[in-house]
Amino acid sequence: MPDWLPARRGKETPAADAALWTKCPKCGEVLYGRDLAANLYVCPRCGHHFRMHAYDRIASVADGEFVEIGREAVSNDPLGWSDKKTYPAKLAGDREKSGLSESVVCGFAKIGGHEVGLGVMDFHFRGGTMGQVTGERVALLLEECRRRKLPCVLFTASGGARMEEGMLALVQLAKTTAAVTRFMEDGNFLLVVLTDPTTGGVAASFAFQADVIVAESKAMIGFAGRRVIEQTIRQRLPDQFQTAEFLLDKGAIDMVVDRPALKDTIVRLLEYVAHEQ
């Protein structure tokens, strides 16, 4: 574990309090926090992949140091949104719980000795939704990677565009897509790892633009949410529908990988592009 990680972990990260017990939602096994963290948040009994926090994810793939960019960009409240809580109050609550300043963490790291841009979304912050800052940070990362001729690795986890920022959130699809397009036109390589869940606007923008798309085992991936589809067609969907394995079968992604093998897979893929970067 890198020495910077503990300070970055939010209150709700199981390993933040090593004495915390977590029950596997899949098999019911009761897991000790420290063991779960050491096993990359994969249940040792049934292989269930827990949703990972961004900084834990970064620590799991980066060789050591991680230089973050864009951290100071924080959201405003463009619509003056308020329902049960005001939008600024929702943001403050999520910052407190997750230890994150927004739904994505971006920066530079080495993976297997290869210098890359690394962006990691976190479902624990506003359901990983893409707001102005999410789009801003992803675009900034891609522009920096383009300038430095580095490959970029993005981990996605998102419920889509963020409702509370309205159209200003939706146009982040355009912003990120445009940044990816420019980045690619210059011959740079984009690798996206889809993690549970990746849906809506993030799936329909930079995620599915990638050169190579890897998904974590059993991750839920789709455009429309399962509930929306079931309501539209008025029937229950099969369990396998919109899983990583389903998408592999349909030809939408390149490979499905278990989390423990993920870093090796990324390193192997980067080796093919390192020579020209």
Partner: protein, 325 residues
Amino acid sequence: MSNNIIVEREKGLLHLERRIADLRAASAAQPLDMSDEVAALEQKYREILSELFGTLSPWEKVHMARHPARPTSLDYISHFDRFDELHGDRHYRDDPSIVGGFALLRGRPVMALGQQRGRDTKENLRRNFGMPAPEGYRKTSRLAKLASRLGLPIVTFVDTKGADPGISSEEHAQSEAIATCLATFTAARVPIVATIIGEGGSGGALALAIADRVIMLEHSTYSVASPEGCAAILWSDAGKAEEAAARLKLTSDDLFRFGIVDEIVPEPLGGAHRDPVAVVDRTLDVVDAALTSLSALSPERLAEERYEKYRRMGERRAEGLKSSV
């Protein structure tokens, strides 16, 4: 009963319209001059119209945008000088919820594209209520790429609740189809003018709306999700759609203020369908003027300015700020 609150409100007006027409006919057939009565009824009609539609709430605009008689993409495109529809995604099938093809607008060759809902139940079933499948977005990408290569400006009409949420659409990678469409529009080396003519819902609408100039009809709506979708996502209650409509800031005035929309086309009292030909003509004039001003820019400059336009939207000043952990 219609589930459209604007249609419901128009029912009483229809009665009045019929009476005015009857009175006019009677007046023409007889030597008796009834023009005073006709004028009085017309005056009353205008008063009621103004009372009913003078100011519209966001929720009322949602219903106006979905009005069954509101001009659709083909109503605009059929007023071009010429239109030759092209079909198919070259992979799987033709999606009738998106129409596209070569067209002449005020003498200018363009590529016209639009989401197309049905004007009656039968057509709606065929066109999937204007909700495009991946095949529709792939057709759009194909035609947009063709336009970019041939130097034809792209003119789009946006009118959809959103992309189709169905099994087949997921199986055929709706996300990839939309992402590719967005990428194609951001990189196109020709002028793009998009007009939001009805409902602009979510990524499925944005896929045809990345443009150098975004025009919006006064009572159209454009939002991150449909009000029903937003209410279901945030509050697990689609019944709170009216509240969502108010919060989403989806009207043309709001979006002009945010810089998402560049120009608003006014509508007659009561909505575009009350004088469709005039609205279509006025809109096409605005599109034509936008194309004329954009035609002065080089392909490189166009792509650069479009990139910068979207790059600045919702910018939160992250540049140059770095911290090490």
